[in-house]
């Protein structure tokens, strides 16, 4: 293969590779930072306007985070019966808030 042909082939391959470089949200899921929802705890809800898009978005995000956390604890307890028993003894029910 001549140098000229090789360069042309390389250019075509590079061109075809570009769309694959698009920013896909799933690429970030592994290193994704979790929301710190401690500011959304009970008493801090006072004064929040439930019609405010920011409040609605934060509630949605934190409810989703709590749901995921509860699901993972539940799954862990199922995998390890001892942990499940310990949680029941400590008064942790398996109920979790629905989002």
């Amino acid at each position: 293969m001549s140098t000229q042909s090789f360069r042309s082939l390389l250019a075509i391959l590079l061109f075809l590779t570009v769309p694959a470089m698009a920013h896909d949200p799933s690429e970030h899921m592994r290193a994704a930072e979790n929301p710190d929802c401690t500011t959304m705890d009970g008493s801090s809800h006072e004064g929040m306007d439930s019609n405010d898009p920011i409040v609605q978005a934060m509630m949605k995000k934190c409810m989703s985070a709590m749901h995921k956390e509860a699901t993972s604890i539940e799954a862990e307890a199922t995998e390890s019966p001892a942990l499940g028993e310990r949680m029941t003894e400590e008064g942790h029910s398996h109920d979790h808030p629905e989002s």
């Binding site: 899921m29 994704a32 929802c37 898009p53 920011i54 978005a57 995000k61």
Partner: protein, 185 residues
Amino acid sequence: MKQILKVLLLMLVTGSAGFAFLYSGIYPMGADSPHTSLTYWALETLREHSIERASRTLVLPDLSSPDLILAGGADYNEMCSACHLEPGKRGSDMSAGLYPQPPNLTIPPFLHRVDDNSERTSNLAREQFWVIKHGIKASGMPAWGKTHDDQRIWAMVAFLQQLPRLDSAQYQILTARGNTEEAHH
């Protein structure tokens, strides 16, 4: 006839001077050397009117949707905050080094204007969409539309409408990528 010759001669001299200037290389191109105020005004006027004209006919979706805000927050944090900052940050290496300096999007856009109204806000949202999608020549602002669809760009615009009202804690919650996928469905 004499007048026409004079005008033609003047045009020739002006044109030659212009070309001589372009090829001389004396204009400073470094980002650390600001334009003259006349050049800056001309470029800014050209940019503002071009964006306003191009974005005029865009149809706005509902930008107050929590799902849209959440989707846009995560993208803003990863793609934009290095230059356009986040609550609690006054500058970054990128925002300090780029010229023209990227706008700090955590500051309300109409802070110094008394004629703030919803039409102006809608126009700003249309312009933001256009700028994110198409970028701006020779400014460091990329055209994200080459790799991102309109829905994702509108989500970033939705987030931008709320950004000036966010504090650091709210920003962290709305931009954390964790659980975003669940929030979409």
